[in-house]
């Protein structure tokens, strides 16, 4: 099993979710994050104070999938999350040692 973490633009979340559902990914966990990278932030001004906000709001999607689904999942994310502009985000993949479904105690790919 692999854990895929994708950091994508907010307004792409729905599309990515639908895409992943279509290729059979049945669960995912989403977190609000702030990203720093090539994409520029913005400036804010409050009376005399001026701040450059380097962080851009993003969402992180985590999905755990069986090894043979990884390619599909990555391709789907690449397809649905891409705008072609700087700041589209990243996909990071890590190996997973174990997965457990809390409700049933099932482990491994059965837990997904």
């Amino acid at each position: 099993m692999k854990k895929i973490e994708a950091i994508v633009r907010h307004f792409k979340l729905e599309e990515v979710k639908s895409g992943l559902s279509e290729v059979g990914v049945q669960g995912m966990t989403v977190t609000e994050v702030r990203g720093f990278g090539r994409q520029k932030g913005h400036k804010e001004q409050y009376r005399g104070a001026e701040y450059t906000v380097d962080f851009v709001p993003k969402v992180k999607i985590e999905i755990v999938v069986a090894d043979d689904r990884v390619r599909d999942a990555i391709d789907t994310i690449l397809r649905t999350a891409r705008t072609g502009q700087i700041g589209d985000g990243k996909i990071f993949v890590t190996d997973l040692a174990e997965a457990v479904r809390i409700r049933t105690g099932e482990t491994g790919e059965d837990a997904l």
């Binding site: 307004f11 729905e14 913005h42 804010e44 001004q45």
Partner: protein
Amino acid sequence: MIRSTRSIERLLGAVIAATLMAGCALAQDTASTSSPAFKLDSGDIAWMLTSSALVLMMTGPGLALFYSGLVRRKNVLGTMMQSFAMMVLITLQWFLFGYSIAFHEGSGWGGLSWMFLGGVSPAQPDPYGYAATIPHQLWMVYQLMFAIITPALVTGAFAERMKFSAMAIFLLAWSTVVYDPLAHWVWGKGGWFRNGDGQELVGALDFAGGTVVHISSGVSALVCALFLGKRRGYPREAMPPHNLTYSFIGAALLWVGWFGFNAGSAVAASGLAVSAFVATHFATAAAALSWAVMEWLQRGKPSVLGGISGAVAGLVAITPASGFVGPRAAVAIGLVAGAVCFFACTSLKNRFGYDDSLDAFGVHGIGGTVGALLTGVFASKWVNPAGADGLLHGNARQLLNQAVAVVATWALAAAGTLIILAILKATIGLRVSEEDEIEGLDVTQHGEVGYNF
């Protein structure tokens, strides 16, 4: 042709400021000469001062909260700023010439004799009997509060996508070519629809602004929604209100403030003010119930947004009638308005697919029209001898008059809005760029964010 929009916008600000400066410098304030034939009433003044404050509170924070709660988080300040800008800009426009256009004597408009508020006395009533027992300036400032909220209502139609500069210029122009003349037609000395002078073309009843305020803003809102087009992603993307609690607070403040709007329109602390207060309150409750029940029947749950939308619809619909009907008619008007506006904001909007983002048309355009027409049905001289009887009291004619005023208002509002928008689109442009729309008005138009939690 126009090379730099940005510098034009800045120039504009500077020019306005300079004009105001000049006006102030050239014209020293002087008090009006005294005239013996009037008697101020401290109770009436007290109530009208209070009412003026209440009506200002309707725009800020009332409407600002109601509207900004409905948009997405990234546009919360931009939306508040639209209401706030009206508090600022219309005040100065009123000072420069708005009040004169609307309330100086005249048929189609009032002219420019009262520019810079020259001749508007703080000590004596106005010369035309708009308000016999309070100083002219109080009438002027009370009416200003109406002139502020009306364009602010329009902003609901183009929320989350209009450039701040375009919005400001559009609504300043709109106020000048739509609101001020319309206020003159309906309420101004010599106005074509002003009931009771005997000089009017058609005597329409509009106690507190069903046509002048609500139809005008609501219909203009529809034109804006159609002309500007939908928000990026609408209706595919979910755009739920980011903070319904704000909308709730706003709606409650609107309810409270509306007593100043309607009961204040009696321009005295009189039985008529009481009657308008009571009609307003009961119609509002009835409309809130009506909308919520519709929702409960159709969707299975009554919602807070439904309840407060119904309340606002009721407030809108009772506005023209409030000084002409008793509590029973008020409840009837409220029940009808709640249900009709519910359909306007759900089925009708979805059927035609325009993006009237915050339902300015569905609530104010439709609610105002319902109210204006039902005024012609329920109005009674028993309640207000200075008014007229409606259909139910044997005067079908009044309903016709109301319809004429409604049509005229629709026409003026639609035409005026269309022309101004067309000009602006061809010059400085109306919408923010797609990127800015995605990032939100707060950061792109104002360099701020609403919440830093």
